[in-house]
């Protein structure tokens, strides 16, 4: 670092994160600009504006002390659970499924916030747990309950994608917290048995159909297979260098559904080709690598778990979304972080980023990278 030539406040910023983030967001805005037919409205301008706002929020989060995170973990988690129940109740009254609360000035989707929420509360829990207990039931049962409540509530909404994201975040937290490996192997084996049963009993019809169609998209070319088929056409027709900026026929002629939200990667790949796709993958790789590095040099167990968990949450978004648009996963409504248009996911991801930035700051304050 060239600390000598740059003001400390600026040098202290995690540029290794902010620069890739900006690159990704601006690239996303470019794609949204093209998707809107060469216009900043309605998506591209809003996308950048939101990012700026949430970046400020993330920086504010980054300035919060470690104790504040510890204090807020459990009440925050409990509050989110209450909100989830509230959504459920209002939904039952209003009829139909509900995922959000209308607060008047904004709509709040508690399940979104639960993604970083579960990471925070588990980091807090495993930090609190005496290391000696980490192999016994005390390490598993409370965590399981903490995961089970929100996951079940979200499944009830029903929102499979978010429930999976919450579960994935929690399970990775347990893995990193040092729970015995046999648990994960056993759970994996049990999952292999339970998954088919759950598929036929727990999933809703439309979810089951999505999975089936994912196996064979061409079986339903006009129904739910349409999304996957058109997305593959968009990506495949882009070739190595793409069709050129503003020339993506799949998105411009509305063949590609959700071209500005869930399938923004396909919109991008059609115009920018494989080159654009590799660039996006590379930038995500940089961001995620930075997140893991932060966690590895974090000063204590709480910070380590927190940073790794937040990184994992972002990773899960990226991984599922890209697998979905490339036809490797069923269609679940998960947007691509920093590129898809949409406030909720941007907020969640920026909370994750802010938290990792905070851990980064603690690590530097605490005498640099100890570990």
């Amino acid at each position: 670092m060239q600390r000598a030539y740059i003001p400390a406040a600026i040098a202290a910023q995690p540029w290794k994160l902010i620069l890739p983030l900006f690159a990704l967001v601006l690239f996303g805005a470019t794609v949204l600009y093209s998707a809107a037919g060469g216009s900043l409205r309605p998506w591209a301008g809003m996308h950048v504006a939101r990012f700026i706002i949430f970046l400020v929020m993330a920086m504010l989060i980054a300035r919060a002390p470690k104790d504040w995170f510890r204090r807020v973990a459990l009440p925050g988690y409990a509050g989110l659970c209450v909100l989830l129940v509230l959504v459920e109740l209002l939904g039952a009254i209003g009829g139909g499924s509900r995922r959000w609360l209308d607060l008047g000035f904004m709509t709040l989707q508690p399940s979104e916030l639960m993604k970083p929420g579960i990471v925070l509360v588990l980091a807090w829990f495993y930090d609190l747990l005496p290391p000696g207990e980490s192999q016994g039931w005390r390490a598993i049962v409370p965590a399981g309950v903490m995961l089970g409540i929100p996951a079940a509530l979200v499944m009830l909404q029903p929102d499979l994608g978010t429930a999976l994201a919450i579960s994935f975040g929690a399970v990775v937290m347990m893995f990193l917290a040092g729970l015995p490996l046999r648990l994960f192997i056993g759970a994996g084996a049990a999952g292999a048995v339970i998954a088919p049963i759950a598929f036929f009993t727990l999933l809703h019809d439309y979810q089951r159909k999505r999975v089936l169609v994912f196996m064979d998209p061409e079986s339903d070319p006009l129904g739910s297979g349409y999304h996957i088929t058109q997305s593959k056409i968009a990506i495949g027709s882009g070739g190595f260098f793409g069709k050129g900026f503003g020339n993506g026929s799949q998105s411009h002629l509305d063949y590609l559904p959700e071209s500005h939200t869930d399938f923004v990667f396909a919109t991008m790949a059609e115009e920018w080709g494989m080159v654009g796709g590799l660039f996006v993958l590379l930038v995500f790789g940089l961001i995620l690598r930075w997140g893991l590095q932060v966690s590895r040099r974090a000063p204590d167990r709480f910070s380590m778990l927190l940073a790794a968990g937040m990184t994992t949450t972002i990773f899960f978004y990226v991984c599922i979304n890209l697998m979905m648009v490339m036809g490797l996963a069923p269609v679940v409504g998960i947007p691509l972080p920093f590129m898809s248009h949409g406030g909720s996911s941007m907020m969640t991801n920026m909370i994750c980023i802010g938290t990792i930035m905070a851990v980064d700051r603690w690590g530097k304050q605490g005498g640099g990278s100890l570990l």
Partner: protein, 712 residues
């Protein structure tokens, strides 16, 4: 990891927490976060590989898919080749029109759409029901016609409402037009939308293009490949919802090739109209070339209305008509030819060496074995030689000499003159009937030829079955002495026909006898042409349909009346045209020869012939089109609401095929004497004959002994 962690946990449970455990957990975090990072990297690699596979390896496939999404190719149906007659006048042409179709797949709210269309286009209720029926039956991609030949106002009214009418396609196009309508129905056939089976067979997107029609019957079907042409195309860039973004270009269609027929359109129309209320057929051939100048089968259907698919009222009308309007009687009607075979039989006698002067005494009947075969004239013709045998149609003359000359010679001559033959014509099929001989009977019934079989065959009864085209060919070959082959496609450079190899003096004798039939002491005096200097030669024939125990062949039930036949050629001394007329259940040859006379007259003096026809049409209630329209109106009034669903394409084809199945041959051998039908007859009731020519010799009373009904 477990090896390190577990011993601590178990051994030192009670020991206060040691930093080593925490360090162990941190180590474990390090390792596991490394695993996590590696897993993330692995996923990244997997995604990059997948991206490369889609974008590079499969690029061509997806590029094509994207193009096919982007570019919407609208085929423009090619204009169909014309069918023209020998003078160049159209028998089937194209008319520019506006049309509206529905693609069932794209319909959103069918009832509402139909209701809107009904209001916009002022469609009658039964038409809407027809459309609804077709929508039920059509596969999703098959366009269903709502209206064609629309005027601009209606077309515009639909066009501006398009956003509210998904699945409705208005377009400018061409529709098939048959100027002479029903007169060419059986000859030219008709066109219609391709059926699902057609599409399965050809897999050509043109077939499911709205407004495109393929030949369904007749020449339209036979010459489909030649008439079709090459479609044009309009390429547009369209959104997923079908909104056109911009035009990418249009390729003009290449119209199909025309076909020119030997048919004389005016004559064809005249012949069809002249058949009038009867169920019958007229064939006219050119005696020099074999060109078929007219080939009319009536009643018929109007191919113009078939082109839009058949409506329920029309269907009821056609399927309930006992005059089988869907059967092409020229090729598919099989009849015992009756006495029209006598000139042919006499010719075979001459060729066999019989002296035409040799005579037999006709006393009204002839005993053959233990049966008496009657002459149609029970009073007898007295001494009868060949000439008189033909012009008086004396049965006894033929009974007598056929026994001497033998059946094989007669059958050979029949085939030489075209009976029992199938001709190389571009038609879906011909029922070629039977020319019986001893070998045939042995094969068919495992019975020996009996003498009464010969006797029956010589008067065109018994096993003998012919179609009207064969009769026309027989007439033309008798007239010309050449092996004329009927032709439908005009070929001005066709080689001249070869001679039959029959002595000219034999032919002259037959011609003289046939001239006598019309212009002398014969059975068809009223068939004389009203043209000075042109004499027509002919031969009458009456074929019994049922035994005399069922009906006398004249009146009574229509189905029981005798068939009437007439073959002729003119001028008798220098034959140019030959003609055969067959009237089903006309009550005898008296129903046939006035038709032949007028059709032949038309060839020499159109005005005179038209005058006669117009006189008749006043009595019949208008010309063919007017009568069909009147019938339609009465059906509509009567059954408008209750008519059953019309046949779809497959059913229609099936019905047409059923109507056109060859009449079956008698399943059991005929064992009795066939009674000769009376010959000639007085003017039959359904065809009043205003002709001023003197009445022919009075009809004889019906023959007495007859028990075997004839199959017709």
């Amino acid at each position: 990891m477990k090896r390190i962690g577990l011993p601590f946990a178990s051994d030192k449970r009670k020991v206060p927490k040691l930093p080593t455990t925490s360090i162990a957990l941190n180590n474990r975090f390090d390792r596991r976060s490394f695993v996590l990072g590696a897993a993330q990297g692995g996923v990244g690699l997997l995604l990059a590989t997948r991206l490369g596979y889609l974008a590079v390896a499969e690029n061509a496939k997806y590029r094509a898919a994207s193009e096919s999404n982007r570019v919407n190719l609208t085929l423009i149906p090619p204009r169909r080749g014309w069918v023209i007659d020998r003078t160049g006048a159209p028998l089937a042409a194209n008319r520019a029109d506006f049309r509206v179709d529905i693609i069932p797949d794209r319909l959103v709210d069918r009832d509402r759409t139909l209701k809107t269309l009904q209001e916009l286009l002022a469609l009658p209720d039964d038409k809407v029901r027809d459309i609804s029926d077709k929508l039920d039956k059509a596969r999703g991609f098959q366009p269903v016609e709502v209206a064609a030949s629309m005027d601009w106002d209606h077309f515009a009214a639909v066009s501006v409402r398009l956003p509210d009418l998904p699945g409705v396609i208005p377009q400018r196009g061409f529709s098939r037009d048959y100027p002479t309508g029903a007169a060419v129905g059986h000859l030219v056939g008709y066109v219609g939308p391709a059926s699902a089976e057609d599409y399965e067979r050809e897999r050509n997107p043109l077939l499911i293009t709205p407004g495109f029609k393929i030949g369904k019957d007749g020449l339209e079907k036979q010459f489909e490949a030649r008439l079709r042409g090459i479609p044009g195309a309009r390429r547009v860039e369209a959104t997923a919802s079908g909104r056109v973004v911009r035009d990418l270009g249009t390729r003009e269609d290449v119209p199909g090739q025309p076909i020119q027929l030997t048919i004389n359109g005016a004559l064809q129309d005249y012949a069809a109209r002249r058949i009038g209320l009867e169920s019958g057929s007229v064939v006219v051939m050119d005696c020099a070339t074999g060109d078929v100048l007219a080939m009319a089968s009536m009643p018929s259907f109007d191919p113009n209305s078939f082109a839009d698919g058949i409506g329920r009222i029309e269907w009821k009308m056609l399927s309930e008509d006992d005059h089988v309007p869907l059967r092409n009687k020229v090729l598919r009607g099989l009849y015992p030819p009756g006495s029209t075979v006598k000139p042919m039989v006499a010719l075979s006698f001459l060729e066999g060496g019989l002296d035409p002067k040799e005579s037999v005494n006709c006393a009204g009947g002839l005993r053959v074995g233990n049966r008496v075969f009657h002459c149609w004239n029970h009073h007898g013709h007295g001494s009868t030689d060949m000439l008189k045998g033909i012009y008086q149609s004396c049965d006894v003359y033929f009974y007598h000499f056929a026994q001497r000359m033998g059946m094989d010679g007669i059958a050979a001559m029949a085939r030489r003159l075209g009976l029992g033959q199938e001709f190389p014509l571009p038609v879906a099929g011909q029922s070629y009937g039977t020319v019986p001989d001893p070998a045939w009977k042995k094969r068919k019934y495992h019975q020996d030829w009996a003498i009464y079989d010969t006797v029956n065959a010589t008067i065109g009864q018994g096993y003998v079955q012919v179609n009207p085209l064969q009769q026309a060919v027989m007439a033309s070959r008798l007239a010309s002495g050449n092996i004329l082959m009927p032709r439908l496609l005009l070929d001005r450079h066709a080689p001249a026909p070869k001679p039959l190899g029959i002595a000219q003096d034999h032919l002259d004798l037959i011609h003289a006898a046939m001239n006598e039939v019309v212009n002398g002491r014969g059975t068809a005096g009223k068939a004389r042409l009203p043209i000075p200097g042109v004499q027509m030669a002919g031969k009458t024939g009456t074929a019994q349909v049922v035994g005399l125990n069922v009906g006398n062949g004249k009146g009574g039930q229509w189905k029981h009346r005798d068939h009437g036949h007439f073959i002729c050629f003119a001028p008798f001394d220098k034959p140019r045209y030959a003609c055969a007329v067959a009237i089903e259940h006309g009550g005898g040859s008296g129903s046939a020869y006035p038709v032949a006379r007028d059709v032949m007259t038309f060839l020499f003096d159109q005005a005179k012939a038209m005058e006669v026809l117009e006189g008749y049409e006043k009595q019949w209630g208008g010309n063919v089109t007017q009568r069909m329209a009147a019938k339609y109106a009465s059906y509509e009034a009567q059954f408008g609401a209750t008519a059953p669903k019309p046949a779809d394409d497959a059913q229609l084809a099936e019905t047409v095929a059923a109507d056109n199945t060859p009449a079956t041959e008698p399943t059991a051998a005929v064992t009795d004497a066939a009674p000769p039908a009376p010959e000639p007859v007085a003017a039959p009731p359904p065809t009043p004959d205003p002709s001023p020519t003197p009445a022919p010799p009075a009809a004889a009373s019906a023959p007495v002994a007859a028990t075997v009904p004839q199959v017709h």
